[in-house]
Amino acid sequence: MSLRPPQYSLLGNNQHATSLVLTGDWVQGQNPENFGAFQGELARAHPGSLTADGAQLGTWDSVLMAFLLQCHDYCQTQGIIFEIRNMPEGVDKLLAVATAVEPHDPPAEKSAFWLSVLSPVKVLHTVWEDIQGSLGFIGEVSIALARLFRGKANTRFTDFLKFCFQAGPDAFAIISLTSVLVGMILGYLGAVQLSQFGAEIYVADLVVIGMLREMGVLMTAVVMAGRTGAAYAAQLGTMQTNEEIDAITTMGISPVEFLVVPRMLALIMIMPLLTIYADLLGIVGGGIVAGGMGISPVQYITQAQAALTFTDIFVGLLKALVFAVLIAVAGCRAGINSGRSSAAVGQAATNAVVTAIVYLIVADAAVNIVFQQLSI
């Protein structure tokens, strides 16, 4: 069966009535001429009425229907009476259904120049709004925590335990790997410089102080931001999509108390423990490098013990607490403010990680400056 090319012709130069004769097979692959071309012809003729005649029409599919629908819509805007004649039965019915409802005219959207996202005013505005939002969120969480300590909050202990388990033991493997490697990196860094002075033994001091004060807690926090913070955002975002958060709110339960507080407390509980674990493994990693440079394990341990001070441990643990709060705030806030679509949940998870890492680095710098000034 060979297909005839789809064609149309305008017949009758009568100003009042013109007929549009459709011939050939209007099916996919035949590429009938676009409506735009026909629209020009029609505009020049501008008849009072247009009748589409399908007597010589072959086979047809949605292409024909799309063409007829456009004819109909165009005629309607131009005040031309549009009719169809001798069409297959299906075409009649489908056109009737398709034209039963007036097309919707969507409100015009402001189209912004894409580079405008880089405008400094806009960026500052976004940052300022983000800071305001985070501070507001921290406020809400503080109120919820105050209610918790007075025993009034709707926070479930089982949730807290579950999140502790997710955040803690499940993260052991990845934390072990990163901390040993970071310890080794610190070891190598120091070894190269210190060996120039014959002071290889001080690698132990560098690793201990570096891990305790800075790297142990920072690396743990980055891993937790990617692992736990993103998970929180995705969980809460999905709950938002499923209207679970609406259900919680209408049950008279504060979503912050019910969802955010257990997650944040779990992180506050787990982060210091993971940090101590990471510090220990980092020191072991540094020891491996030191061993490779001819420092005996006993020497390394003795030197490390001498370098270890409670101040450093305290600084690390304090940072762990601050970071835990920041990761939980970034993750939970992104999740609770998430939109209600799969794309929005993905965006929420991305936001959670990016915000958390920015917060971490800014907070780390701030804490270091404060301690420097206080000579701690």
Binding site: A66, G90, L94, E102
Partner: protein
């Protein structure tokens, strides 16, 4: 037009047993769906209606038995044959199944781009036409989250008919819609079905829909885990030997509601 009776049934379900592990949902289902039928799968909640639909769609493999489309087994067909069969299907899922990260226009454009030889300009026109068919003309640039539930159902229908399918599957099309919208959706399904000449398979327990549109049906029983009635729903309501089926179709609580003639 070919007579429906002259060719093998459009869809044949043969000795189908569906089970999750050792948990048998339904066993020994046997029924035919003819060309041009509007076929309803009905039954109480949890009897396996949606599971049966998922088997028919090839999303779940049957533990025993087979499903034939135009005489060809779906599950014994190769991947590419299955793909070809699926191109003839239009499916509207229970919660719409619209891709939430895409606009309505993009949702309908996707299957057209993947499976047809239409040009880009034609696709734009066809998308406008399909949306107009379901009364959503002009909504191309809206995201599913920006429109109401009823509109999402209709948009899902527009995507289901994008490829001018031979078979349309609906999972609870009118669930969650008000009576008027749900009637309009029924009418829309009827009109589109009649003008495109498709076979329609619907999972539903909306009695009004069942009597308004269906000409054939199967009732899945929750207790015996098999089908206990098969035929025109109006006939079943008046003449079924199974009290539970009459009860279901007349929406009554009593065990036996057969009216005295």
């Amino acid at each position: 037009m070919t007579e429906p009776n002259e060719q093998p049934a459009h869809i044949e379900v043969r000795d189908l047993t569906m089970a999750y592990g050792s948990d048998v949902i339904q066993h020994d289902l046997n029924f035919n769906i003819n060309n041009g039928d509007i076929f309803v799968i009905m039954g109480g909640s949890g009897c396996g209606k949606s599971t049966l639909l998922k088997h028919m769609l090839g999303l779940i493999k049957p533990s025993r038995g087979d499903i034939l489309y135009n005489g060809t087994s779906f599950f014994q067909a190769s991947d590419s044959e299955q793909g070809l069969m699926r191109q003839g299907w239009g499916i509207s899922y229970q919660s719409g199944g619209l891709f939430s990260a895409m606009t309505l226009g993009e949702n309908i454009t996707l299957p057209l781009e993947l499976y047809t030889r239409y040009t880009t300009a034609e696709i734009t026109d066809i998308v406008a036409y399909k949306l107009a068919l379901v009364g959503l003309g002009g909504y191309q640039s809206y995201y599913p989250s920006q429109i109401s539930g009823g509109m999402q159902k209709r948009a899902a229908l527009a995507r289901a008919i994008a490829l001018d399918p031979k078979i349309l599957f609906f999972d609870e099309p009118s669930a969650g819609l008000d009576p008027i919208s749900s009637r309009l959706l029924d009418e829309l399904i009827m009109q589109i079905k009649e003008s495109m000449g498709a076979t329609v398979v619907i999972v539903t327990h909306e009695l009004a829909s069942i009597f308004a549109i269906a000409n054939n049906s199967v009732y899945l029983d929750n207790n015996s885990h098999t089908m206990i009635a098969y035929g025109n729903p109006a006939d079943l309501r008046d003449n079924s030997e199974q009290p539970i089926v009459r009860q279901f179709l007349t929406r009554s609580a009593a065990a036996d509601t057969k009216e005295t003639p």
